[in-house]
């Protein structure tokens, strides 16, 4: 399986995703520079975390214009699995591949800490291996992860079961005490209509090795390998 890790100027979790895929998961990973027009023979695309273009203007606002984003959109349209992590999620939002927008965290401070992330739906390529309702222990690290969507969009997301991850307490309760940033409905991650594009603020690639305190994040990567092996997805090439 080949994972393409897209590198934008200012990406800084690109190496972490690469490391998780290649050295922990044991699959092939390649960096794709944002100026490239093609994703090559990628089976999975990861838009990693970081501060593309410094997050100047708005998070992800400039990166969405990169040439590679046309290829990412085509790949997604053909059903290929795309995972946007943190800044990658923000880029997907700006690019319109996922609905909604990010605001500054409610307390306007950056938060880096492990949080509880409840898996809401398992019918996406990145959550197939999870049990519904399971609370993953995964870190967040962001200043602008306060998810917002207009009421009608939010309603659609909920109705279509497109909220994939929610911030929750360790025992699975979703409420303000578990919400680190003010996201509407405690949303930590969502998917597109086709369910093959998933974006989330927490960093699964930081929770793939026992030494790092948690291996829960590995489930997302293992899931997509399962999904592709089972041939459940359309080819994205």
């Amino acid at each position: 399986m080949t994972f393409a890790v897209v590198v934008f100027p200012g990406s800084n979790c690109d190496h972490d995703s690469y490391h998780a895929v290649r050295h922990v998961l044991g699959h092939d990973a390649r960096f794709v520079w944002h100026k490239e027009a093609s994703l090559g023979n990628a089976d999975v695309v990861i838009l990693p975390g970081g501060f593309s273009h410094g997050d100047y203007l708005r998070t992800g606002a400039i990166a969405r214009f990169s040439p590679v984003m046309k290829a990412v959109a085509d790949f997604a349209a053909a059903g290929g699995p795309v995972l946007g992590i943190c800044n990658g999620f923000q880029i997907l939002l700006e690019a319109g591949l996922l609905p909604g927008a990010m605001l500054r965290n409610r307390d306007v401070r950056f938060h880096c800490e492990h949080v509880g992330v409840r898996v809401e739906q398992t019918d996406t390529p990145f959550t197939a291996r999870c049990r519904q309702g399971r609370v993953l222990n995964i870190p967040i690290a962001h200043g602008e992860g306060n998810y917002y969507a207009p009421p009608e969009v939010l309603e659609t997301l909920e109705r279509e079961r497109r909220v994939i991850f929610r911030y929750a307490t360790a025992d699975g309760r979703v409420g303000p005490e578990a919400n680190p940033n003010g996201s509407l409905n405690n949303i930590a991650g969502i998917c597109n209509e086709g369910r093959n594009v998933v974006g989330l603020m927490p960093h699964p690639e930081r929770a793939c090795e026992p030494m790092l305190g948690s291996t829960d994040g590995l489930l997302l990567f293992e899931s997509v390998v399962d999904a592709l092996t089972a041939g459940a997805l359309g080819g994205g090439r």
């Binding site: 203007l57 708005r58 909604g100 927008a101 307390d107 917002y148």
Partner: protein, 85 residues
């Protein structure tokens, strides 16, 4: 020609920065600042011939790049125009 672009969060969107500043002001004793909303402000230097072109260019740039229509609205002001009127 110079244009100013103001980008503000739509009224229905909660503004974490504005409300944090309002709280800070209250704790400093500025009780009579009832509310604060924070937006962005851009000064564009435009190489265009006419006011009309300037207006159009600034609006295009604002709607395509400077503002995110999901959460923000914007307003364009030409600097010279403002002075002249």
């Amino acid at each position: 020609m110079k244009a100013r672009v103001f980008v503000t969060l739509k009224p229905s969107v909660f503004d974490p920065q504005g409300s944090t500043i309002a709280e800070a002001l209250h704790s400093l004793g500025y009780q009579n600042v009832a509310d604060v909303r924070q937006g962005k402000y851009f000064e564009l230097d435009l190489d265009v011939a006419s006011e009309q072109d300037a207006e159009q260019l600034a609006s295009e740039v604002a709607s395509r790049v400077l503002a995110n229509p999901v959460i923000e609205s914007f307003r364009v002001e030409l600097v010279d125009a403002g002075v002249r009127s």
